[in-house]
Subunit: 380 residues, 2 copies
């Protein structure tokens, strides 16, 4: 049995627990890897969205970081961070908030992939005498946004942006569908090759490209060719989760986030435990549903973190969870009676970003066993 202090058993459940030692280990691992491959990390802060997590992820206030909302950009800017990429295609109506941050001295980079957005940026810039820093999104895996590296619009949009153009960005979200190192390396290579092709075309048109940004958690860990890429992004690696375990980016032991829950009932005929971990606590995310191992709504562990093989959070409603015990428990597995009312358990999440999003406060189990609370930055 792992030794844990007394305080995790004394808090009201459900709550989100983060294991600081694992968090640090995950961050150190990726930072070392990216540095060894000749690039730098621009971590995505969207998973944990707290000022404290940024302290762990960023070596200093001027280190590059990625955010998913302007609310995050504003919160990190107010805390002194100065180099932020808002990695969602810019809506023209949001340019005023972007300009506000840039006027405060924040190097806030924005993203776009259409001539219409570029026109909006250029018009706003002219009207308000405002400079912007814009990355063009490149589609390297046919997954979501971006334009293809060989698309004619690439040079047109970059030229249209003129001095506001800063570089290229791609995100291989398609890598989430992989489960072998070879496939993940291929996606990582694809990201870099797409950026290189686009950069070459811009160079031929006389357009400089200071920022080249690639990454997703799987490709960041499996890429080995970042030497001429200025930065690599990744987000969920901070705590990892069951989806990443299934993809093969981490082990179960690396997962630094769990939801602590209490057994509040049972149904012996059905071999069910009822818990207070509904989807309000674990989220509705079923990210492992189509993977090799389906963990339903999460992997069940003892309060000390020991994984209970074969037990998952089978179902959820708003504030109720159901853990269905194996039907052959009479033959030596677990019986309902092994989990008394009041027993506390931990649930490892399918998708850490989605689970964290359900919690306004996180409870941190520090390496010295002390307890810390982090407040999530909320809203858009």
């Amino acid at each position: 049995m792992t030794q844990i202090p007394a305080w995790p058993a004394q808090l009201d459940t459900p709550y989100l627990l983060i294991d600081e030692a694992k968090l640090k280990r995950n961050i150190d691992r990726l930072q070392s890897h990216i540095k060894a491959q000749g690039s730098q990390l621009r971590p995505h802060l969207k998973t944990l969205r707290t000022l404290e997590a940024a302290d762990y992820l960023l070596p200093g206030k001027n280190a590059p970081a990625t955010v998913s909302t302007l609310a995050e950009a504003e919160a990190y800017a107010n805390a002194g961070y100065t180099d932020l990429l808002y990695a969602v295609g810019i809506a023209p109506a949001k340019l005023a908030r972007v300009a506000q941050l840039r006027q405060q001295g924040i190097s806030l980079h924005i993203l776009l992939d259409t001539p219409e957005q570029a026109t909006a940026v250029v018009n706003f810039a002219e009207l308000h005498q405002q400079d912007f820093s814009v990355l063009i999104e490149i589609d390297s895996d046919d997954h979501r946004g971006g334009i293809k590296p060989d698309a004619s619009q690439l040079v047109t949009i970059a030229a249209q942006l003129g001095s506001h153009f800063s570089g290229l960005m791609t995100h291989a979200g398609g890598s989430y569908g992989c489960s072998t190192p070879a496939a993940l390396q291929t996606f990582a290579q694809q990201e870099c090759d797409a950026i290189r092709q686009a950069r070459q075309r811009l160079a031929e048109a006389g357009i400089d490209c200071p920022i080249t940004s690639v990454g997703s958690t799987p490709t960041a860990h499996f890429g080995t060719d970042f030497n001429d890429i200025s930065e690599v992004r990744a987000g969920v690696f901070t705590t990892f989760d069951l989806v990443m375990k299934n993809i093969g980016v981490c082990t179960m032991d690396d997962i630094a986030m769990s939801v602590v829950t209490t057994v509040i009932g049972y149904n012996k005929e059905k071999h069910w435990l009822l818990t207070d971990s509904g989807w309000m606590a674990v989220s509705r995310d079923r990210g492992t549903a189509n993977q090799a191992v389906d963990y339903n709504y999460g992997q069940v562990c003892r309060l000390d973190g020991t994984v209970i093989n074969g037990l998952t959070l089978t179902g959820t409603s708003q504030e109720h969870g159901v853990i269905e015990l194996p039907q052959d428990y009479a033959a030596g597995d677990f019986a309902v009676d092994d989990f008394a009312i009041g027993t506390q358990l931990r649930i490892l999440p399918n998708h850490a970003c989605a689970t964290a999003a359900m919690h306004p406060v996180y409870h941190i189990l520090k390496s010295d066993n002390s307890h810390e609370q982090w407040q999530r930055i909320i809203g858009w």
Copy 2:
């Protein structure tokens, strides 16, 4: 085209919009129905979790209400509400917070279905000279928690609770699997019959049962036999959603909740619009996935609320949504060019409880076209 005021187009997206006129209409409809059937409503406040919504749902501060967390109970108690049912099986560790509220004069009822929980209640009561009001959960549809009305434990637990016993409660969550009025009426009848059978057994044992509580949104609307049932519970009916529309409890026009989003990109080859409504805004809930009509992540409407038939939010990532236009749009449907960058749309939710849970603030479109903001009560 419906007339809407200017302000909804001026807020930053994504945000949650509630149509006050529809909210009122939905509440009036169910209150009238339950009253006509000889019972009273104990609305579940868990869908909207705001003080303002409670004002609409409850005729007065001492009107009965249901909550899903002690955090809600504490917030409503502080606002002056005095009759609250915490409708999740009680964890022994939470009795201290329950006692605290009861000492403040709140008639807070709790729920349980095991002898172990009853023992914990009785022991706490004796140790702290504290009275409780306990409902026993009855399983009327083999769905989640509760004991069967003919189970021997029923009388044992009620006797064990003694003066702390207040009555019986059941929730036909299984009714969510129905889609015909006849099936919904059957579930409603089952709820009442299970409670009547349990009450009769208690009466034979000389135990009085002042509170009899049944309900779910579908059964509350389709039940016609509440005359000897003291109260009926329902939650999601306040705003309804696509799941309820598929079940047949409401029409599309009754849905009072939507997420307002902006078009932030497109992919013409794939006939995709990209929006800023990711799962952070609409939730990961795919409640319509196994229903007759699958709305993916929600039904797309124009900003004025007009439903765009055939358009759904096809996919989501954290802060991105994808709306896939019909592949035959060339034949007369919609083309990507019909939705310029910056166009605002509304997404009707699969599951209003889950979508509301993603938003710390709701924006209310009042009947007089004015704008109000409601703060969600958060945490456990």
